[in-house]
């Protein structure tokens, strides 16, 4: 039923009339391999500083939010200003079910996927209704509304305190092993997201995606079912973001909406996307690492770091290759350099 076919530089997999391919030519794999090996070996160098390990774990999670966001921006041709809605949704779903229902992390993961998918499907029509900035604004308001709800229904969501005491994902005999394991889990999560998103972008539906963000109307005329694709590209990354929330719940074991739902958190993600390279999947990783490292090293400056940090980011954004960020330093040509338009009508 499934046919494998070995070509000179790739393996073709055919399933009925669909096909996918994996490039096996070594020279395409060299740089990713080096990068991934580096990330896998990184803990060895920072082992004695668990705080740095935690920092890069967090950076992995930021990247794991930014990667699906990039895919979402490519696929829906809209800028989502509120992916943290799903982070919150995933986090609270996992935490509440774990605390009150006694669900195990495995079970809560399933619940998170279901809840995020259902909510995302319900909200997905906004990708047809609203365009450009209007979509961004709707998505901006949603997490803020959710944040207010966490205060109003304080009995459930526990307002500013948040939920605590969720069961951990791992209980290894030593905490330092735990932290190491969390790092690898977050790394795997991020790489998995990257792989999935990469496969999607390179696949047949990725071609449709290119058509959609090139010109929606033309794509529609060429027979692309734009609406259906948009629902997919809205729902799927949302679920991925929700899973990050689940991961945060079971590793940090505290979850408060005030940390993740306000605009400040989104701005951090947006900066990561921009510093890494706008809406380009791989850029999110160097972006997340750089932003985290810069922020952490600036902390040594004392209270001035609060206004030096935005200034450094401004300088980074201005002086990195225009709009292409860190990824632009590495790759001069990209298959799909695209960021959805956000402006108020300017012809």
């Amino acid at each position: 039923m499934v046919n494998f076919e070995l070509r000179r530089d790739r393996i073709l997999v055919r399933f009925r009339d669909k096909k996918t391919e994996w490039v096996i030519e070594p020279r395409y794999w060299r740089n990713p391999t080096i990068a991934i090996t580096f990330l896998f070996l990184l803990p060895l160098f920072v082992q004695t500083w668990p705080n740095i390990l935690t920092m890069i774990t967090t950076a992995n999670l930021y990247a794991a939010i930014a990667i699906p966001l990039a895919l979402q921006m490519l696929g829906t041709a809209r800028v989502n200003f509120g992916p943290q809605l799903y982070l919150g949704l995933g986090g609270y779903t996992a935490a509440l079910l774990n605390l009150h229902g006694g669900w195990t992390p495995g079970e809560t993961l399933f619940a998170v996927v279901v809840v995020c998918a259902v909510v995302a499907i319900l909200i997905s029509p906004t990708t047809w209704i609203a365009k450009g900035l209007y979509f961004s604004l709707i998505t901006l308001i949603l997490p803020l509304t959710f944040l207010d709800i966490t205060y109003i229904w304080g009995d459930i969501f526990r307002g500013e305190v948040g939920l605590t005491g969720m069961s951990p994902l791992l209980t290894l005999p030593k905490v330092t092993w735990n932290y190491l394991a969390y790092y690898y889990l977050s790394l795997l999560l991020m790489l998995l997201y990257l792989l999935i998103c990469d496969r999607i972008v390179r696949s047949r539906i990725g071609v449709n995606l290119a058509a959609i963000n090139e010109n929606e109307d033309v794509a529609r005329m060429m027979g692309v079912n734009v609406d259906r694709y948009k629902v997919f590209y809205y729902v799927f990354p949302s679920v991925l973001t929700g899973i990050v929330g689940w991961f945060i719940v079971h590793t940090f074991r505290t979850f408060a909406g005030v940390t993740y739902l306000p605009l400040e958190f989104m701005i951090k993600i947006l900066i990561i996307v921009l510093v890494g390279g706008r809406a380009f999947l791989y850029g999110a990783i160097p972006g997340a690492y750089l932003v985290s490292i810069v922020e952490d090293s600036l902390r040594t400056l004392g209270p001035v770091n609060y206004f030096v940090f935005p200034l450094v980011l401004i300088v980074l954004i201005i002086f990195l290759p225009r709009g292409e960020g860190l990824w632009g330093l590495y790759r001069k040509r990209r298959p799909r350099d695209y960021f959805p338009k956000l402006h108020v009508r300017r012809e």
Binding site: L41, P43, L44, F45, Q47, T48, W49, P50, N51, T54, M55, T58, L61, D148, Y151, I152, G154, D155, R158, G159, E160, V161, G162, T164, G165, P168, K174, V175, T176, W177, N178, Y179, L180, F252, R253, T254, A256, V258, T259, E295, D296, R299, G302, P303, N305, Y306
Partner: protein
């Protein structure tokens, strides 16, 4: 190439080995006593608490340290973010091997820190103090799972039980005897710490309104504010219409400057405000509200009244040495460190963590605001009358203590009289 690979593999093996065999040792029992301080250093309360911690450490070191050991303070900035807080907590405990961590920040940070602390505690014994986070979450952890969370101590003015059992009593005393009214309007802010006040604690206490009723007061109006609210006229209109004689404000985090400014120009301007804490109790409040805070009563620890012989020197030293005024949280942080010192002395060192915890449970030390010590079972600091938060009234540019009566500086005066 082969040689390179071998060297690389060897390095990795060595690093891996060192990683796994990383010793999870006790903090030192002879060197300096290390205290880690964490706060959001863009927030005035954390900055003030930081200065207070530095002052305490300096004073202890000048007096010869603790049991002859110097005290070392490691200050870290959490930027008010939970991931950062988790990160730094690990650094302080694992890398720096501190004996105690102080989180002088909002309660969500304290709670997040405590979770991480509980994970680390069996391998890296340490003590955790939360000196700003209000509410019940810290000590509820200790109550619900003593074994796991016994390293955690909370030094902040009150817990909800004490709010309802003690503070409500003080307030009703003030309303009946000083303000001379029996009609109260209550305003809450919609946060977790006011929930027990709004809804009561099952089997412990009725809600705040119920407590007031029990004490012979009449609650004529109750309302809740959201944190981001800027327009308060409606609540004052409602309180005035209900004929309240005093407005009891269980608020601490909302925009108090706007709240007070709008009160001073509303129908309720002649009804005295009683604010539980926050900006209105800071010396800057007069300037920040252009004097509109005149007549407001507020629970404030930033008043120059010698509750103990430490009070005035503490306030002066803080301002002279660190150019920062005391705010809520600086007293508690300062006192906590002295309480910790005495506990170490009682326990005879830091070697045995359980001995140290039990010393902390039984310690009582003279503090800036009375006596510092922690509840044996629940680890919140001993409440009034041990630890005093004076109730002050803003009178023509100055805060004057009106309660407790032993520290009284002036009589209560109505806002209308004060404005004359």
């Amino acid at each position: 190439m082969g040689k390179l690979v071998r060297i690389a593999l060897l390095t990795i093996a060595v690093l891996l080995f060192s990683a796994i065999s990383l010793p999870a040792s006790q903090p030192t029992t002879t060197g300096p006593i290390k205290i880690g301080f964490m706060g959001n250093l863009s927030a005035p309360f954390s900055l003030s608490a930081k200065a207070a911690a530095m002052l305490a450490v300096e004073e202890i070191n000048n007096a010869g340290g603790i049991l002859g050991r110097k005290v070392e303070l490691i200050v870290e900035d959490t930027k008010g973010e939970i991931p950062k807080c988790v990160e730094i907590y690990k650094k302080l405990v694992i890398t720096d091997r501190v004996h105690a961590v102080i989180i002088a920040e909002k309660v969500e940070m304290g709670v997040a820190g405590m979770e991480i602390g509980a994970e680390l505690f069996p391998e890296y014994p340490h003590i955790f103090f939360s000196t700003i986070g209000s509410g019940d979450d810290i000590w509820h952890h200790v109550r619900d799972n003593y074994k796991k969370y016994r390293f955690g101590f909370q030094t902040y003015y009150s817990t909800s039980t004490n709010y309802l059992k003690i503070v409500a009593g003080i307030n009703s005393d003030i309303y009946k005897n000083l303000v001379k009214t029996d009609k109260v309007a209550i305003i809450y802010e919609d946060m977790e710490w006011t929930k027990p006040l709004r809804k009561g604690l099952p089997n412990v206490s009725p809600p705040l309104a119920g407590v007031y009723k029990e004490r012979g007061l009449q609650v004529v109006n109750e309302t809740t504010l959201s944190l981001d609210q800027k327009m308060f006229s409606p609540v004052f209109e409602a309180a005035a219409k209900a004929g309240a004689g005093v407005i009891d404000c269980a608020i601490g985090y909302i925009d108090q400057a706007a709240f007070v400014k709008q009160w001073a120009t509303s129908s309720a301007r002649n009804i005295p405000l009683m604010i539980w804490g926050g900006l209105a109790g800071m010396p800057a409040a007069w300037k920040a509200t252009e004097g509109k805070v005149n007549g407001v009563m507020v629970g404030s620890s930033m008043i120059r009244v010698p509750i103990t012989k430490k009070t005035i020197p503490f306030m002066d030293n803080l301002v002279n040495k660190y150019k920062i005024g005391p705010i809520f949280g600086s007293h508690t942080t300062y006192d906590t460190i002295f309480g910790f010192k005495k506990a170490i002395e009682k326990a005879g060192g830091t070697a045995n963590i359980d001995k140290l915890i039990s010393a902390l449970e039984n310690v009582e030390e003279e503090a800036v605001l009375g006596k510092i010590g922690w509840d044996k079972k629940y680890h919140f600091n001993l409440p009034y009358p041990k630890y005093v938060t004076p109730i002050v009234q803003w009178q023509k540019g100055e805060m004057k203590v009106i309660y407790p009566l032993e520290y009284k500086m002036a009589d209560y005066a109505s806002p209308a009289d004060l404005r004359k």
